[in-house]
């Protein structure tokens, strides 16, 4: 009898246990997968966020760099992790753009529960500060005159942004791939390419130092850190496509865990300390959560899909 009772209790507890565990989420350390290497933008933002999440939740948050394949390895690991909220990941524009350009990319936005947007960076074309090209209009007229003259560097999904830009401005510069934004900026300053597709955070210090000139950003609003640079819409070429850094969890996480993480994100994004930390590494905090964020992601996905169609033509 006692044996049967205890067996019953054991059985019952095994059903109850997961629920009980969720009520107490988080009760052990959380792993934050960063699918990119140390020192880059995703790494810096991920580490800043994990520090704040650790303070908020009271458990350790371990940033883990799982690198390789333009994020393929890390995104795949995060999306196939157990959906219990103890594995979350930095998701970014590579997750949205790469499935459109890399055959067999093992993860996409659908494999994730979007938690919150932390930062969206306007992306634009930067040229050497000593160049004759002063505005986006100059760039377009030179590119239309002689399609072979201009070389435009890009990194990863910057290709899709460059193609979209080419589409709205009716230009077709030679696209040169680089493995990091630092490399493409170096190439512009060294005079090896005429321009590069970079974000405001990536270009900031070189623009301040008068080494780079931003022609325009392909965003709806002007950049907060470089407010003197016009948007492409102001120059007559409306386009809204850029880079972003966000937090995501595997697809089927329990709703209360999702709510917990969204609340955590909302709180953290309003903390002065986090905002200050993000500003120092060059990012402006821009919070979106829940359905608002999901809708925003869908629009980004459409923009990248449209650009990818251009690639196939």
């Amino acid at each position: 009898m006692t044996v049967r009772k205890s067996l019953g209790a054991l059985l019952a507890s095994s059903f109850l246990f997961p629920l009980a565990a969720l009520a107490d989420y988080p009760e052990r350390s959380i792993e934050l997968i960063i699918p990119f290497g140390q020192g880059g933008g995703n790494d810096l933002v991920g580490r800043a966020f994990s520090q704040s999440l650790a303070e908020y939740s009271g458990v350790d948050v371990l940033p883990v760099n799982r690198t390789g394949g333009s994020g393929a390895v890390g995104f795949h690991a995060a999306s196939s992790a157990r959906p219990d909220g103890y594995t979350i990941a930095m998701i970014n524009s590579s997750l949205v753009g790469n499935p459109h350009i890399i055959n067999g990319f093992p993860a996409s936005v659908e494999d994730f529960t979007p938690i919150c947007l932390l930062s969206a960076e306007p992306v634009g074309i930067a040229v050497n500060a000593s160049s004759d090209i002063e505005t986006l209009g100059d760039w377009v007229s030179i590119a239309q005159e002689d399609p072979d003259r201009l070389a435009l560097g890009y990194t990863s999904i910057g290709e899709l942004i460059a193609l979209s830009a080419g589409n709205v401005t009716d230009t077709d510069p030679t696209l040169i791939p680089y493995s990091g934004s630092g490399d493409s900026i170096t190439a512009v300053i060294g005079g090896h390419v005429d321009g590069a597709v970079v974000s405001d955070a990536e270009a900031y210090s070189q623009v301040q130092a008068d080494q780079l000139r931003m022609l325009a950003f392909f965003s709806e609003e002007r950049s907060k850190s470089l407010p003197d640079v016009p948007t492409s819409a102001e120059a007559g070429y409306p386009l809204d496509i850029g880079l972003f850094r966000a937090i995501g969890a595997p697809a089927d996480i329990p709703e209360d865990v999702e709510d917990y993480l969204i609340n955590a994100c909302t709180e953290i994004a309003q903390e002065d300390e986090f905002i200050e930390r993000m500003n120092r590494i060059g990012f402006n905090v821009q919070l979106r959560t829940g359905d608002d964020f999901k809708e925003w992601l869908t629009r980004q996905n459409e923009a990248f899909a449209t650009a990818a169609n251009l690639l196939e033509q």
Binding site: G37, Q38, G39, G40, D43, L44, R47, Q51, V64, N65, R66, T67, G68, G69, S70, A72, V73, H76, A77, N98, I101, I102, N103, G104, F105, P106, D148, A151, S156, E159, T174, L175, I176, P177, Y178, S179, G180, G182, D183, I185, T186, A187, I189, G190, G191, H192, V193, Y204, S205, Q206, Q208, A209, D210, Q211, R277, R280, I281, G282
Partner: protein, 501 residues
């Protein structure tokens, strides 16, 4: 400028700060000595810990860890024949044979002194010539990077150990392994068999550890059982004056090569040590002894990679541009400390920049101070019973293979490659060329593609004046015999004419 420099050195006279730097260098040496824990990983892990300090102290500590780690790689390379990273592969080539001849202490002494000379001279070059060198490095583009990588590829001949054919086969294997994953230009998967793991490519560090460490451990296990192990005597550490004088030209030359290659954004310490080693061998009077424990080989390799470590700081401190993986991490730390790296750093924070200059010099002295007495200690590792030492090495290797990408599959790759490497060692196929192929393959491939995109597919424009010079040096071994033959003919001809015919 001179005043600022003096102030920079003066600010380092704080005993607490010096102590902190000694600690940082010591941590760096441990980081570098652990196979697989790269300098960039070490700096990235330590970076948040430095935020409790002011920017100067914090970044100085990171510089200490970085420079310590570049040196640290030579310790396992010499003592147990395992390169901690690609830049120490050339050190294994002569350091390890010296160690097996019972001169591990001396080999470590030479590598320490060479690292010191390379590091200090490169720091002085950094102080005096940072601006012109960074402008020169900036003027080099894909076409020159490609030529530099081909120059480094010529090291296959030096690192094949006897049979060039076997070396070339191994190098091709390395070039092939490097193509697995996403290609750098179009981002398309190659040889990935739809496995997400392979999209990330074959883990380079795991292959290095597998190729060098596992066969070594297996071979030692074979010999472990019967006789009791002979006690290895630790030889003297400090080389004699005559030896030092003989090594000096090689060290100076390697420092020059290392500093420039390090400052070039497209190449790093691994490329620097390969170029320096093969040029050193070609120019040496004792070239046939390279690869069997020639001190000059260690000097070339270590002076070059240390100089290159400092050289990578040139574009960082003058232009705010990363010269490699580690400097990218350091740039991140600059920003978290509230400093914008870039040309403005020199204008707005000149005293700080000179303090960093002074730090690089001091840190290299600390490397010498820790390295020389430490050499005896490290060499003693050889006196530990093999039945205890080998499992520890194996454990460290497993941690190292896992640490870089946090991927458990990397450990299996390391072990698999290790078994393969064991049979390669038995068959007398050199293993270093695989590493060379894997290091340089991606650089050469993507730079050729970028270069041709920039020239719009024009092959003639692909050769620029600077790259032509580098190509000429790289391909010298191919046409040198021909030149010699032609010279000999020309010299003989007048002689024939004097003969009555």
């Amino acid at each position: 400028m001179f005043e600022l420099l003096i102030q920079g050195f003066a600010s380092l006279l704080d005993p607490l700060l010096l102590l902190l730097l000694v600690g940082a260098v010591a941590i760096g040496i441990v980081v570098g000595a652990m196979p697989g824990i790269s300098p960039s990983l070490g700096v990235a892990i330590a970076s948040p810990l430095t935020f409790v300090f002011d920017p100067f102290t914090g970044i100085s500590c990171l510089l200490g860890i970085y420079i310590g780690a570049v040196f640290g790689g030579s310790i396992p390379a010499t003592v147990i024949g395992i390169p901690g990273s690609a830049m120490a592969v050339t050190t294994v080539f002569d350091g390890y044979p010296m160690g097996r001849k019972g001169k591990a202490g001396l080999a470590l002494g030479i590598s320490t002194i060479s690292s010191f000379i390379g590091g200090v001279l490169a720091s002085l070059i950094l102080i005096v010539l940072a601006y012109p060198i960074s402008q020169f490095a900036l003027s080099l583009g894909p076409r020159e990077y490609c030529a530099i990588a081909v120059l480094a590829l010529m090291a296959v001949a030096s690192l094949s150990g006897g049979s060039f054919l076997k070396g070339a086969i191994a190098c091709l294997l390395g070039l092939f392994l490097a193509t697995v994953g996403l290609d750098e230009i179009n981002g398309q998967p190659r040889f990935t068999l739809d496995i997400p793991y392979l999209m990330g490519g074959i883990p380079f560090i795991a292959v290095i550890i597998g190729l060098f460490a596992i066969p070594e451990i297996m071979q030692r296990f074979e010999r472990i059982s019967h006789r009791s192990q002979p006690i290895v005597q630790v030889s003297k550490v400090v080389p004699s004056w005559s030896l030092l004088r003989r090594l000096l030209p090689a060290q100076l030359r390697s420092t020059g090569i290392g500093t420039i290659v390090g400052a070039v954004p497209g190449a790093g310490a691994d490329v620097a040590s390969l170029i320096s080693y093969s040029q050193g061998r070609n120019l040496s009077k004792r070239r046939e002894r390279f690869g069997s424990g020639e001190p000059e080989g260690i000097a070339c390799s270590e002076a070059a990679n240390s100089a290159s470590g400092v050289g990578a700081l040139i574009p960082l401190l003058t232009l705010g541009l990363p010269g490699g993986a580690v400097t990218a991490v350091i740039i991140g730390s600059f920003m978290i400390h509230g400093l914008q790296p870039g040309p403005l750093l020199m204008r707005d924070h000149a005293p700080l920049v000179y303090q960093f200059f002074a730090t690089t010099v001091i840190v290299n002295f600390i490397v010498l101070l820790i390295g020389l007495p430490g050499a005896k200690l490290f060499a003693r590792a050889l006196q530990v019973k093999e039945s205890i030492l080998l499992p520890i090495i194996l454990l460290i290797c497993i941690i190292g293979a896992y640490a870089l990408r946090n991927n458990p599959w990397d450990i299996l790759v390391m072990l698999g490659v290790g078994v393969f490497g064991y049979y390669m060692a038995k068959a007398g196929i050199p293993r270093a060329p695989i590493v060379i192929g894997m290091t340089l393959g991606p650089i050469i491939e993507s730079e050729i593609a970028r270069g041709l995109l920039i020239t719009r597919g024009n092959y003639i424009d692909f050769i620029t004046p600077i790259s032509a010079v580098i190509w000429a040096i790289a391909l010298l071994p191919l046409y040198l015999p021909l030149l010699r033959y032609v010279f000999r003919r020309i010299r003989r001809r007048p002689h024939y004419r004097n003969q009555p015919s």
